[in-house]
């Protein structure tokens, strides 16, 4: 149907008038119905998440003696954490654990995804084998590896001694030097299938015609991966890395069961330290302050995660 000039002009005015308001509250008000629909979920989340968070923040400003009332002490919990040498030692452990675990798991997971994507006889079996570490529970994994690394009757020491490579048992989990690398090895073994699945899903979305175009343009296998596959997977890579970093920062079960933070706190990371402060030392105030610090760090990671997730939406808008 033909549109007359005045109608077109009216349409343009209407479009101008319907421009999105800049004020966030005005925008939210326009979508009041949407918020009504998600209100039950928001309320449930408020009681199981927001309330504990608020109570933790509240406690973080108090001294919490085991006997007697809580005592307001302002920012003392925070300053005592930040100024303690132990905090920085544990932060260093946490960074070491998180960064090395993430990088190694990412490299191995991506390599596994590239292998699992190729067509070969037994591919399904190989994919299944790769997934085994991921489906075993963390607790079972921890006990299996404690046994493998055990100095006296562990598999590693036993095999190396049987082969005559070493003469006395290896000290791994009881060594301040080797305990953390051993934990990282287990963590990488446990986490790489997750990265493999994410990357495999991403690899399957790389359009075949783009790879063909790169091939005919003279790109070697590596150049195809470098110039076509990797840029296509950029979004998947960012999200996978962020999720893995957050998972590692929050990883409690493996380090706690395998070493309990020892020996000499060499495997204590933030999350095990918070647990130890709260439930071993019963210092809930300082544990809460520690939790708040971790919460701020995690929320900054969440910000980047959401930004990465919505990058495509912004481009489409």
């Amino acid at each position: 149907m033909a549109v007359s000039a005045p109608q077109q002009a009216t349409g343009q005015v209407a479009t101008r008038n319907r421009r999105e308001p800049k004020n966030v509250f005005q925008r939210a008000y326009r979508q009041w119905a949407d918020y009504t629909y998600i209100m039950p979920a928001l309320l449930a989340m408020f009681f199981v998440i927001a309330y504990p968070i608020a109570y933790t923040i509240y406690l973080s400003f108090y001294s919490t003696p085991t006997a007697g009332e809580n005592v307001w002490n302002g920012l003392t919990n925070y300053t005592s954490i930040i100024t303690a040498e132990r905090f920085w030692m544990i932060t260093q452990n946490t960074m070491y654990w998180t960064i090395v675990s993430t990088i190694l798991a990412f490299i191995i997971g991506t390599a596994a995804a590239l292998v699992a994507q190729r067509e070969f006889i037994g591919r399904g079996l190989v994919r299944g084998i790769f997934l085994i570490p991921w489906v075993i529970s963390h607790v079972a994994t921890a006990y299996i590896w404690v046994w493998i690394f055990h100095s006296d009757y562990g598999l590693v020491s036993g095999m190396l001694m049987d082969l005559g490579i070493i003469s006395s048992p290896l000290v791994i989990l009881d060594s301040t030097t080797w305990a953390m690398p051993a934990l990282i090895l287990v963590n990488v073994w446990k986490d790489f299938p997750f990265i493999m699945i994410m990357m495999l899903a991403g690899l399957q979305t790389v359009p075949e015609h783009l790879l063909r175009a790169a091939k005919i343009d003279g790109a070697s296998t590596w150049a195809q991966f470098r110039h076509v596959t990797l840029p296509h997977l950029k979004g998947v890579i960012i999200i996978t890395l962020l999720l893995t970093i957050v998972m590692n920062l929050n990883h409690f079960t493996l380090p706690w069961i395998m070493t309990g933070g020892g020996p000499a706190s060499s495997t204590h990371i933030w999350i095990t330290e918070v647990y130890a402060l709260a439930f071993r030392s019963l210092r809930f105030g300082i544990a809460s302050a520690f939790s708040v610090i971790l919460f701020i760090i995690m929320m900054s990671m969440a910000y980047f995660y959401v930004k990465a997730m919505t990058a495509g939406d912004d481009r489409r808008r």
Partner: protein, 361 residues
């Protein structure tokens, strides 16, 4: 810029999928340097399989693919030094137009300065100067295809492969880009192997056309040869519209006739060396038929249907024996005089009539 294209030869090329399905059966073909040759055929005729085998994406069961005598089979696609334009453009979405065009040069380790110079030249050739920094998503379909063309020719490949490159475009844009393609191909002198199922596109662009059917070349020739002298019923009907009649030739000289059954007779005046007492098939294009007198061969018929197609008028007429003729005439305002049921005289000249070579079953 003038590129000396290479000679592309396919020798007894066969392509078999899964060891069972023969897509291409012993095809041999010579594409001269600088020639624009089109593989034309319906879906499943094997034309794309040939292109993919030349590119290196589909293995050959047997035969050879030679570029200037050098056998390409066994080499991976990235070592064949061929240009290729895909139907869906295949532009890298994360790269700018300049980066897309420069990609084959980067893979050949050209210096940045040389890449920039070559990209500028390629952009100028496809008339997209000023588009260097745009992303493929910011371009129209036609612009994307021009970028794909620039990318495939920027490194001066000896042979350019094109897989239905205009298939995804609307008719108007397709016609415009046909002219562009031909201009670029003529300017570069690049040997081009083009695949399409669109006979109009093939006729417009090609120096020669190979019509394919069931994995074999049915006929190869210039567009005019294929149109005016089709060898087989398939070519006659696939390349343009035609009227086909089967029958036995009788008589000789000016009295020669094709007996089509039910007493039907079609004059074959002047056609020599017709096989006697054998079924033959003849083809005559609808636009070569005239309504009214003045032609050497004529038959009486009655109009069955008149179709108005703007610049053309399509008339379907039937003789008393049931032979049906489709006639295309330039619209000169005569549509009102032609209506169903009107008796007309259909005429043609003997040189417009083609006796098809392939024996009739």
């Amino acid at each position: 810029m003038l590129i000396n294209g290479a000679r592309l030869q396919l020798q007894d090329l066969s392509i078999v999928y899964d060891g069972q399905i023969t897509a291409v059966d012993s095809v041999s073909l010579d594409v001269e340097p600088g020639e624009f040759l089109t593989l034309l055929g319906p879906s499943g005729s094997g034309k794309t399989s040939i292109l993919m085998t030349v590119a290196g994406f589909v293995p050959a069961a047997s035969g050879r693919v030679l570029v200037d005598g050098d056998d390409l089979l066994g080499r991976p696609p990235n070592e064949r030094n061929l240009g290729m334009v895909f139907q869906d453009y295949a532009l890298f979405p994360h790269m700018s137009v300049a980066e897309n065009i420069g990609f084959p040069l980067k893979m050949r380790n050209w210096s940045k300065a040389d890449i920039k110079q070559a990209v500028d030249g390629a952009l100028e050739m496809v008339r997209l100067t000023g588009y260097e920094n745009r992303r493929p998503t910011q371009l129209s379909g036609g612009e994307q295809q021009r970028v794909a063309l620039a990318r495939s020719t920027v490194f001066d490949p000896p042979v350019l492969l094109m897989d239905e490159p205009l298939g995804a475009l609307d008719r108007q844009l397709r016609e415009h880009l046909q002219t562009e393609l031909k201009r670029v191909q003529s300017r570069t002198g690049i040997t081009t192997l083009y695949v399409t199922h669109d006979q109009q596109e093939a006729m417009t662009l090609s120096d020669r056309i190979a019509v394919m059917r069931d994995g074999r070349i049915e006929q190869i020739g210039t567009p005019a040869e294929l149109y005016d002298r089709p060898a087989t019923r398939f070519v006659a009907s696939f390349v343009g519209e035609t009227n086909l009649f089967r029958g036995r030739p009788t008589g000789s000289g000016s009295g020669a006739m094709l007996e089509t059954g039910n007493g039907g007779q079609i004059p074959l005046d002047g056609i020599a060396d017709l096989p006697r007492d054998e079924m033959i098939e003849i083809s005559i294009r609808p636009e070569r038929l005239t309504i009214g007198g003045g032609a050497r061969c004529t038959v009486e018929a009655t109009i069955v249907e008149v179709g108005f197609a703007g610049e053309m008028i399509r008339v379907t007429a039937q003789t008393s024996s049931g032979d049906q003729f489709r006639i295309k005439q330039q619209n000169r305002g005569q549509a009102g005089q032609l209506s169903a049921g009107t008796s007309i005289q259909i005429g043609w000249n003997p040189e417009d009539l083609v006796v098809l070579e392939q024996p009739v079953d």
